[in-house]
């Protein structure tokens, strides 16, 4: 009894901060999502109405919301595997006994994570410019006609995926690197004696040993990628043809462009449920494989 009281006292400051800066706003947003808070209500609180679940029902009938959900799913489905593969590849290269200047390389590869997103997004916009971008210039030398990377509905999302993968892979790379260093060398030694190729060593030692790390990285990356916002906000503003409108971008437009804060809060909760569902599935799959 004494011990548990002491524990509560020690946890109290953190809990208090969580309650005030996380619990209360979430609760307020939940209540807000049940009202039609908008400009009229901002002008005069008497114009606020309780609408129960109408915001949620209206949302499910809004084509743009589904389009945004589709775009976001596309971004997650392609972006997460790509990002994890790149991170793992980079980590393997850095971990290789052949690697030179490991510290420098690690810093260089981690650098995109800590640079300001807006600044690099502007540079990427130059790189992918249709007329004088470096990418089209390089493709031109290979005889490929210029692509309107950010202006063509088919290419805008792939470009954003590429950008996000480049921007974020360093973070996961560091986690993978730590994971790789915990794998006992004896396992590789035994495999080599048995005559296993590099590829088989990777499949049967590295991957299973990294299992829990992969699961962790997967959950973090999925929940992060579902919250796609800054990239389309800076690079495309949701265009062309709304092909880069993500759920969060849609929420931002509803909330801060049209000031429908009730509807925007509902979007936030729907997105929360989606992320919760997907990560729960991931965790369950992980549990089945005894990764937890």
């Amino acid at each position: 009894m004494r011990a548990s009281l002491a524990a509560w006292v020690f946890a109290a400051p953190a809990l208090l901060v969580l309650a005030v800066f996380f619990g209360l706003p979430v609760l307020a947003a939940a209540l807000l999502s049940l009202t039609d808070f908008d400009l009229y209500a901002l002008a005069d609180p008497a114009h606020l109405r309780f609408v129960a679940l109408d915001n949620y029902l209206a949302l499910l009938r809004t084509p743009l919301f589904w389009k945004a959900l589709g775009n976001t799913t596309y971004f997650v489905a392609v972006g997460v595997p790509l990002s994890i593969a790149v991170s793992l590849g980079a980590a393997l290269l850095l971990n290789s006994p052949l690697a030179r200047m490991r510290g420098l390389m690690r810093t260089a590869l981690f650098a995109p994570v800590v640079t300001t997103l807006v600044a690099v997004a502007v540079i990427w916009r130059y790189l992918f410019h249709t007329g004088y971008g470096l990418v089209n210039w390089a493709l031109g030398h290979l005889g490929i006609a210029p692509v309107d990377w950010l202006g063509d509905p088919r290419w805008a999302m792939p470009t954003i995926i590429l950008f996000a993968a480049w921007k974020n892979f360093g973070y996961n790379m560091v986690i993978f690197l730590a994971g790789l260093q915990t794998i006992p060398q004896e396992l590789y030694e035994a495999a080599r004696i048995d005559g296993a190729s590099r590829w088989r060593q990777f499949l049967h030692i590295t991957l299973p040993q990294l299992g829990p790390v992969l699961l962790l990285v997967g959950v973090i990356t999925v929940s992060g990628y579902f919250q796609l916002f800054a990239e389309p906000y800076v690079m495309t503003r949701g265009d062309p043809l709304q092909s880069t409108v993500s759920v969060l971008y849609y929420m931002f437009e509803e909330g801060f462009r049209w000031w429908n804060l009730g509807r925007a809060s509902a979007v936030a909760f729907v997105l929360f449920l989606v992320i919760l569902g997907v990560t729960a599935l991931l965790l369950r799959a992980g549990r089945r494989r005894d990764l937890l």
């Binding site: 039609d36 908008d38 400009l39 009229y40 901002l42 008497a46 114009h47 109405r49 202006g151 801060f256």
Partner: protein
């Protein structure tokens, strides 16, 4: 140490009293928010304002257009609005509904600089919400036709068309006379201004029932939509967005189309890019209307005072300064925005400008859009509905009915608020 406090307090009190009594706005700093390119250009004029009014300093904040709306609303919610601001005139209804804008009719009546009758009536009307004047127009933006004189002549069209019927004949002739692949007109389907301009021309109100419901199943809108759709059905215009055309100016000079429906900023762009051989081969013309020279949209921005401001008198001086014809003329010379006052247009620099003349002509006939705070969303819906007809092949009646339903849904809150207000008044 302690003895100094009363003196300090007295000083402070004196300052307060002096500040409260001061008639002349002396030693004041007013905060002015301006947007986009206007903000960059206006700063040179502000230095001159400060020279004329030594007691007033202007603190200019430049806001990019893409962030302006959010920033203003957030500032309203946080009680951080500036004293005076450039406001897009489709936003006036919104900030009027928030009761954030100072009514300015009394100031206008007392002003020796701002003469209401000197302004184009359509643009002045955009600043009046529910009968209350909330701002003073700063510049106007209307859309009309840029056209290739040589291509029209080639097709046997002598005079620029003035009615929809004449325009149709001209478009048909241009496509017939031109090489394969030539279109008569470019109306980018990703912009709402084009269908909206045509819809305003019919004179039919866009909203009905105290602006509480859409009026898009009306004969007037049906006529405008039919005309707009026919341009695409006949192949006179390509059904593309602006982003799908890599360079609208080059394509214009290449002769891909003879008409381009656009705004005043393009005068400068076209001039800059014109090939020397085509220097005299293009011009501007007022938008043809259903039965004669037609109306156009009354876009642009206004100068407003915020109710929360403590320095309204000084801020109003700035509004007056920026509304002076000579200042407006210089502003136009710097940036190309169209001035809203007739007397500014009499200045030789503007009156002699061949390309601006069509705009001057059309400004007499510009019409305001409905003053409801939902207007921008409604304009987007109009665009989406016309795009569904042109690109998706939806029947026009169905598109109009769907548009009405969507707009009615958007305006539901407005109807409810109006009912509440009426009941409260009773």
């Amino acid at each position: 140490m302690g003895s100094r406090w009363p003196t300090l307090l007295l000083c402070l009190l004196l300052c307060l009293v002096a500040g409260g009594c001061a008639r002349e706005p002396d030693g004041q700093t007013i905060r002015f928010w301006a947007m986009g390119r206007e903000a960059e250009v206006v700063s040179t004029l502000l230095r001159e304002f400060e020279r004329e009014h030594p007691g007033i300093r202007v603190e200019l904040q430049q806001i990019p257009w893409t962030a302006a709306h959010e920033k203003l609303l957030t500032a309203f919610a946080a009680d951080g609005l500036p004293d005076v601001c450039q406001l897009g005139n489709t936003w006036i209804a919104e900030f009027a509904a928030l009761d954030a804008l100072e009514p300015v009719q009394a100031r206008v009546d007392a002003s020796t600089v701002i003469d209401q009758d000197d302004y184009f009536p359509g643009i002045w009307a955009t600043n009046r919400v529910d009968g209350v004047l909330r701002g003073v127009p700063w510049y106007v933006d209307t859309r009309l036709l840029f056209y290739r004189k040589d291509l029209l002549a080639e097709a046997g069209i002598e005079a620029p068309p003035r009615t929809w019927a004449e325009w149709e004949r001209a478009m048909a002739a241009i496509v017939r006379a031109g090489p394969p692949g030539r279109h008569a007109v470019l109306l980018p389907v990703n912009e709402f201004e084009q269908p909206l301009s045509l819809a305003l021309q019919t004179g039919e109100p866009l909203l009905r029932e105290d602006e509480g419901r859409g009026n898009f199943r009306s004969p007037g809108f049906a006529r405008a939509l039919a005309f707009y759709a026919r341009i695409f059905e006949q192949g006179w215009a390509p059904p593309v967005s602006e982003t799908q055309i890599s360079n609208v100016w080059d394509e214009f000079f290449r002769g891909s189309y003879a008409f381009y429906l656009s705004g005043p900023w393009n005068i400068r762009e076209f001039r800059r890019r014109q090939p020397p051989a085509l220097a005299d081969a293009w011009g501007t013309m007022p938008l043809p209307g259903p039965d004669g020279p037609g109306a156009g949209i009354a876009g642009g921005t206004s100068l407003v005072l915020f109710r929360s401001s403590q320095r309204k008198d000084a801020a109003w001086r700035l509004v007056e300064f920026l509304s002076r014809p000579d200042i407006q003329q210089r502003f136009h010379a710097m940036i190309g925005n169209l001035p809203p006052r007739r007397s500014t247009w009499e200045h030789p620099g503007l009156a002699g400008d061949e390309l601006a003349r069509a705009f001057r002509d059309q400004l007499e006939r510009v019409r305001p859009t409905p003053q409801v705070l939902e207007w921008e969303r409604i304009a987007q819906e109009i665009r989406l509905a016309t795009e569904r007809v042109v690109r998706g092949g939806q029947p026009q009646r169905q598109a109009a009915a769907e548009l009405d339903a969507r707009v009615d849904a958007i305006l539901e809150k407005r109807r409810w608020v109006r009912r509440q207000e009426q009941e409260a008044a009773r």
